[in-house]
């Protein structure tokens, strides 16, 4: 892109982030907003906290800056960056998922889904249930059922 335009993002806490348009169009949601011409002043992102938003912007920047070449070093660098990126604690990861789901960044979404899948992988149902309970993850309903279920199973 020849011109450099900046986009202002306003988050949940009311803080504003000024980013290049090149970076800002990484999330599809924002891209669509810009396309629709709603981004003249600032883009409100009411359900993303500043911590997460800064993390997301960091990720987008990294991915934009890294040349889209087949260069091995660049790819490896990006991979290690991604690896460190998702090495957050589960609470952050959880927030990230929600933010990502809203912002719709495909690469990052894929990355996080895979991370969660890896966390689930290799666990026994009991462990998984435990994990879910402690982190209150993925818990949309039937708390009672699950607890009952495993209690009776251990009987």
């Amino acid at each position: 892109m020849s011109y450099s335009k900046t986009i202002v993002l306003t988050n949940y806490d009311g803080e504003t982030f000024v980013v290049d348009e090149v970076v800002a169009v990484e999330p599809q949601t924002i891209e669509h907003m810009i396309e629709d011409g709603c981004a003249n002043t600032s883009i409100p992102l009411p359900n993303v906290t500043s911590k997460i938003l800064s993390k997301v912007i960091e990720h987008c920047k990294k991915h934009v800056e890294t040349p889209n070449s087949n260069e091995k070093a660049a790819k490896a660098d990006l991979k290690s960056f991604d690896f460190d990126f998702v090495k957050a604690d589960q609470g952050t990861l959880f927030d990230l998922i929600l933010a990502m789901n809203y912002l719709n960044i495909k690469e990052l979404l894929d990355l996080i889904y895979q991370t969660v899948a890896d966390m689930i992988k290799g666990k026994t149902p009991e462990e998984e249930e435990e994990m879910r309970r402690v982190n209150a993850w993925v818990f949309s309903c039937f708390v009672g059922v699950t607890c009952l279920y495993f209690k009776s199973k251990k009987m």
């Binding site: 789901n101 899948a117 689930i120 149902p125 209150a136 708390v143 607890c147 009952l148 009776s152």
Partner: protein, 583 residues
């Protein structure tokens, strides 16, 4: 798992009963089944539910009567909001039908512990539970644990779960109903299939244990490097069958079983099968599909997926052709060496008078779930009278029918391998002939390759197709010109046929010495898997190797060594069959 659910059910019954006691609603008056039915139907509860409930109550009553307690609760289920039961109810009803049978057997065995504790019961009203059953996706309040108010939407959970390998997915299904529900929908399975989250599994058939054809199927999960054993009585006693994998099923075609010693690997008097069995590892279920026209053991199979709905299969059924060569020839002899050249004469007829049968799939697919159509070609094999066959038949999944197609070309030799590549079924014979069958036009034609890879003729080559490329694994001498010498050693080599210039090019050398005469190689997407099994120093060894055709490295990778075969007989080396599935 089942037991726990039953216990839940019992707990429910108990809690219902306790509630009734608590509400002082015990009535010793006899209120018949009829009134219960009526009241339930007023509430417009499904009849099945009514039945199962009343049966449950009846059984309970029956059980309790000796103790002098009779449960007669007229207003039990009629109080829409008043009757409190465990949160499990709504969901439990969904599967009550299948559980009812086993419930009775368990009931008297276990003591009923009160499962519904105060902290985790989620006491709920019955009608709500019912609503839950009919409208599962009702949105509940997200639970609040440790002050974190979190809630993940179903689609995100689904996207995470879809990335799990099969074994983890199966475990994840046990976590809760929600996950189970999310992961068993056809949409989910389709997504898993399309996004290539599946990993290869190798299924090893035809194991022989202490003289008997074992009912065990050994499955190897490549991603987690683990062997599993599946027991299936269906294929017990059958040997010399061929297997082929299609989507998530394995087709077991033909084979024979001993007539005198059932279950034994005894080739003195055998019945050769026409039947085709389908094994679906995901459900561990077997079913039958249409049988072949001719009984065959060890037929050579190829499979292809067809996209066009209007593909016609040219059949060849004239009267002369129907006649089988019913001569008793020893297993090894070649049909082409019969003095009267029956097969040749048959072959020389002009093919113009062949009737043509168009197999158009019906509009409504019988299976419904998988609309993909595929064809299996079964070539050659050994017939009921131990005669080598040169006939071919094609199975069409959309019509569930086998159709006889043109025989192999004259003087082609005994076919030893076939595969589907670029719209053609390729077949390779023991006498190094390559032919291809065009399904749309319905005939075989010879392919003359410019070069012929030198090979040791005792080992039969295998042709494999991966990513629309045609490969062959054959054994050749490393040095020299094919003469057995002191310094020569045999190696297994992978060749690729250039489909334009038709010459074989050497691609890679297999690291293992060729010990097994019957090594099986199967292609799957971009991988070639091979299993070698042989007896040496009184021990049966097995080696699983893998080759990535798309990768830059030209090396075979060992995926498993000596993990299954040690308890098998040496004859399993000859009877083994392998299929690769993406699960």
């Amino acid at each position: 798992m089942l037991i726990s659910r039953i216990l839940n059910w019992n707990a429910l019954i108990r809690s219902v009963r306790d509630q009734c006691f608590g509400y002082k609603m015990i009535s010793e008056n006899l209120v018949g089944e009829a009134s219960l039915h009526q009241e339930l139907e007023v509430l417009s509860v499904s009849k099945r539910l009514v039945r199962s409930l009343s049966q449950k109550i009846k059984r309970k009553n029956h059980e309790d009567e000796p103790n002098g307690i009779s449960l007669r609760c007229p207003a039990l289920y009629t109080r829409g909001g008043g009757c409190k039961v465990g949160a499990t109810t709504g969901d439990e009803f969904g599967e009550i039908g299948c559980r009812r049978r086993s419930a009775s057997s368990i009931e008297d065995g276990k003591g009923y512990k009160p499962v519904c504790g105060p902290e985790d019961t989620n006491v709920d009203c019955f009608s709500h539970g019912l609503k839950e059953r009919f409208r599962r996706r009702s949105i509940r309040k997200a639970p609040e644990v440790e002050g974190v108010h979190v809630f993940l939407p179903d689609d995100i959970v689904e996207m995470c779960l879809v990335r799990l390998p099969l074994t983890s997915l199966m475990k994840a299904r046990l976590v809760c109903k929600k996950w189970r529900f999310l992961t068993t929908t056809p949409r989910f399975m389709q997504m898993r299939r399309n996004r290539l989250y599946q990993s290869p599994w190798l299924f090893l058939f035809g194991a022989v244990k202490s003289g008997f054809c074992s009912h065990e199927i050994h499955a190897f999960d490549v991603s987690s490097n683990k062997w599993h054993t599946i027991s299936s009585e269906v294929i017990k006693g059958r040997f010399m069958f061929s297997v082929v994998s299609i989507q998530e099923n394995v087709y077991i075609v033909g084979g024979c079983s001993s007539l005198t010693n059932f279950g034994k690997l005894d080739r003195s008097s055998v019945k050769t099968h026409k039947g085709v069995l389908v094994f679906s590892p995901l459900t561990n279920l077997w079913h039958k599909v249409a049988s072949m026209k001719h009984a065959r053991s060890k037929p050579v199979l190829g499979v292809c997926e067809v996209n066009s709905d209007s593909l016609t299969i040219k059949t060849q059924h004239t009267r002369q052709d129907r006649r089988l060569v019913r001569t008793r020839i020893n297993g090894i002899s070649d049909v082409y060496e019969d003095p009267h050249r029956l097969s040749v004469r048959r072959q020389l007829r002009y093919p113009f008078d062949e009737p043509e049968v168009t197999l158009r799939p019906k509009n409504e697919n019988p299976s419904g779930k998988d609309s993909r159509r595929f064809l299996i070609i079964a070539v050659g094999g050994v017939g009921s009278w131990d005669e080598p066959l040169d006939s071919c038949e094609v199975y069409d999944s959309s019509s569930n029918k086998w159709t006889e197609v043109q025989r192999l070309p004259v003087d082609f030799g005994v076919v030893c391998s076939t595969t589907f590549c670029n719209g053609l079924f390729y077949a390779y014979s023991e006498s190094d002939n390559l032919a291809a069958y065009d399904i749309e036009r319905g005939y075989w034609f010879r392919i003359q390759t410019t070069t012929l890879p030198p090979r040791v003729h005792e080992y039969y080559p295998t042709i494999i197709s991966c990513e629309n490329r045609l490969f062959m694994v054959s054994v050749s001498w490393c040095e020299g010109d094919g003469q057995i010498g002191r310094r020569n050693k045999a190696v297994r080599k992978l060749w690729e046929l250039d489909l334009v210039y038709l010459n074989w090019e050497e691609l890679s050398t297999h690291p293992d010495a060729p010990m097994d005469w019957n090594t099986t190689f199967v292609g799957d997407k971009n991988m070639i898997f091979g299993v070698e099994m042989f007896k040496i120093f009184g021990q049966v060894l097995d080696f699983l190797t893998m080759f990535d055709v798309s990768g830059g490295s030209k090396n075979w990778v060992h995926v498993s060594r000596n993990q299954v075969a040690h308890e098998l007989d040496a004859s399993s080396c000859a009877t083994k069959m392998m299929a690769v599935l993406r699960l």
